[in-house]
Symmetry: C2
Subunit: 461 residues, 2 copies
């Protein structure tokens, strides 16, 4: 009896691995996916889904002020965090089962266990060695502990902590560069905690367009969320009234009394996979891949969080790269367009940035043209008082190509689909300016921002 050889084995059943396995199977492959923990990965179990759920609740609280302006009164508002967590835990359990069902329906073999690669096309799992033609590495990211004196104290936690508690910290310092800390800061603030955001950079979201970051900062500050920039934790110590954190920032040195320091630092989960046996470096911060998601080793693909720094850890990118890897592993020819990935933030106002910022476009040598349409001039934006919102369109002058679209405001992440599609379809600014978006919607400001870039806005004062 000859051993059956898999066409594709996917290591990791998260937001990247699952669609990779399904797509490979749909293309006729014999496919297995190996997961050592929870199907759905970080995104479903400890990331996008639970925190997305929490942000929906936070945004609902934030929308009450608009309701009041509209004549609606809400006299007794109560918040039951334990009930919120219970609902999302139920949702996640349901989704996890859904993932198994979809894998089975697509005839993907499910293997539960820790996989180790032992050589080209050889993987050991649960004491058995299996063979395959292609490996797709999709193990995602893992926690990196912060490094400051006192960072080993139990009050210094990561975002998982919030998913396992029934009581929120009354005072929290959210420290680091991760965009997700901004969501958590707003969530905690709206649930009654004192939230202090501190970043090492000169601004939150330092990689994004200034137009966006300035407005987000203003919105957060208006709401009462403290922001410290150019910040470093000198030390954290335990005291009777909680942690004392010595913080150096642009504002000077101060000591903050908080219940928790929350950090989010994650790096590619490359250890203990046996990467050395296939000539890949498990000590690098992440794996280098080409636009087909191929690593330096033939027949080995890597996707998602394994392939970039934390600023590129988005589950939609994981899914997209997973599908691309699967198609290439099955002999097709697919590649990624690096400009169509959205950096989304589910705060209120929401943020969604696609493609190049004005600064990046200039650095790349383009003759750049920028247009913008603030949402306080958009009819629907006026209705919902979306006063900090704006849509910014970045293009180049020669062919009019759209290079980037940056949105802050309600539903920015839904509107981002238009930006992604425009860039994917290589729309020109002129074409974008002519999209007859339905009225009254915030999306209309995409066309107006494009018209502004062309020097002929219709509705801007």
């Amino acid at each position: 009896m000859t051993e059956e050889i898999y066409d594709v084995i996917v290591l990791g059943g998260g937001a990247g691995g699952v669609p990779a396995a399904i797509r490979a199977a749909q293309l006729g492959g014999k496919v297995a996916v190996i997961e050592g923990r929870d199907f759905g990965g970080q995104c479903m179990n400890r990331g996008c889904i639970p925190f997305g759920h929490m942000m929906v609740a936070a945004n609902m609280l934030g929308a009450l002020s608009l309701g009041k302006a509209m004549g609606l009164g809400f006299s007794g508002i109560s918040k039951d965090y334990a009930a919120l967590i219970k609902r999302q835990d139920g949702l996640i359990a349901f989704m996890r089962e859904g993932v198994r069902g979809t894998l089975k329906k697509n005839r993907v073999e499910i293997i539960e266990g820790r996989a180790k690669i032992t050589g080209k096309g050889k993987i050991t799992v649960n004491g058995k060695t299996i063979s395959c033609k292609n490996i797709i590495l999709a193990t995602g990211a893992q926690w990196l502990p912060p490094e400051f004196p006192g960072s080993d104290l139990k009050e210094v936690v990561n975002s998982d902590y919030l998913l396992d508690t029934e009581t929120l910290p009354r005072r929290a310092l959210l420290f680091g560069r991760s965009p997700w800390l901004i969501e958590i800061a707003q969530f905690l603030h709206r649930f009654g905690s004192r939230s202090i955001l501190a970043t090492q950079d000169t601004t939150i979201l330092s990689d994004e367009s200034k137009t966006i970051t300035a407005r987000l900062r203003k919105a957060l500050k208006n709401e009462g969320i403290e922001i410290k920039t150019q910040a470093e934790i000198v030390a954290a110590t335990e005291n009777k009234d909680g942690l004392h954190v010595d913080l150096n920032s642009k504002n000077g040195r101060e000591t903050l009394a908080v219940d928790n320091v929350i950090t989010i630092e994650r790096g590619a989960a490359l250890k203990d996979l046996g990467l050395k046996s296939i000539n890949l470096d498990e000590d690098s911060p992440y794996l280098t891949v080409n636009s087909s998601m191929e690593t330096a080793t033939e027949g080995v693909y890597a996707i998602g969080d394994l392939t970039g720094p934390q600023s590129r850890h988005y589950s939609h990118l994981a899914s997209e790269t997973g599908i691309i890897a699967a198609e290439n592993a099955m002999g097709n020819d697919a590649s990624i367009n690096p400009r169509t990935s959205t950096r989304a933030l589910f705060t209120q106002p929401e943020v969604a940035c696609v493609g190049l910022t004005p600064k990046e476009a200039k650095s790349a040598g383009y003759d750049v043209v920028v247009g913008a349409a603030p949402l306080f001039m958009n009819p629907y934006g006026m209705i919902i008082s979306e006063n900090q919102g704006i849509v910014e369109v970045v293009g180049e002058k020669r062919y009019g190509e759209v290079l980037g679209i940056h949105i802050i405001g309600r539903d920015a992440s839904e509107m981002a689909g238009q930006a992604v599609l425009a860039i994917q379809m290589e729309a020109t600014i002129e074409e974008l300016s002519r999209v007859p978006f339905p009225h009254p919607t915030l999306s209309e400001s995409l066309a107006e921002a494009a018209r502004d870039a062309l020097g002929k806005p219709i509705y801007l004062p």
Copy 2:
């Protein structure tokens, strides 16, 4: 002194006329816009804006049940309709001034008065005759009174009534085919009225995809809104306890006691414009135009509500056709794509339909393929319990062209921009299936519906 001749005179300063005038002026024309009532027209003063505003309040009330499921409690909920109206009146006044400002900034001459065309290129207004090379007719629509015994009673009203009252009817019959009646029915229901929707057709939104109408009907009924189909009002009579309406419908004959019957019937405002002097028929239901928005008379364009039946009265269509007319009037060459106009409904769930329904596509002779992705299988849809939502993609098999996209669910009208853009850019179903929409968003279901149309959904069970 020679008389100055305008390049373009626009009759009507509403959603169509304003962008038409501005665009013509931006192209170098000497332009005037003549408005006899309020700048902003039906849309801004008595349509999209006030009712959009009311629907935001209604949707907020509708979202409270999700909040409760998430552990948020709202013990005392009050609704102050007068405050709601006051806020929107203030907004509208602000917007109206904004329109004037934008017209002035673009050097469009504002003329307030009733215009009458007296011959080719001749318009009389405020006792003076002015000359122009091109006329853009943009007078919009006007109320058509309903016709049934008793329709002249004062309790038989149109939607304007709601904008001038401080007290809502406790019981209302919303009668007719207009989609906007559905919004009003939901608004009234959520503000505590008994809402009965009655349509002459076999379903509400009878022109739309069955997938959409079935789900909308279910959502409305689940909420407690009554729907009567194949309905005709036999007669309405005044009684001590309000109007008695004899209604024949699929359910048989019944007498309904209500405070108001609300109808929305509008037709092209063609009377008293002097259209006969330029050989156009003021007695037709609407003006026939070609894809350049030209009427049968050279140098005369017509746009917006003037050019189609009530089912095509959308202000984004008015704006789009206005811009096209202006460009053609100024010697450019622009034309309309009839498939990129959205039929949007700001109910909860929202509805947005773009392009051809499956039925229309089959009738047009296409070899049709349909894919769908229900939002209860979409991760964000699960979070927000968007259980009636779905995205339906209609395409044709030969080239894979996207022919229509139909969406019901939260933010459908924002997502519609993606549908419009996809059809405008002639995206194929395959291209739509590859858009890396951000996660977690409802928009992801557009790609999944496209994959379903291709027979390879990834996440559907």
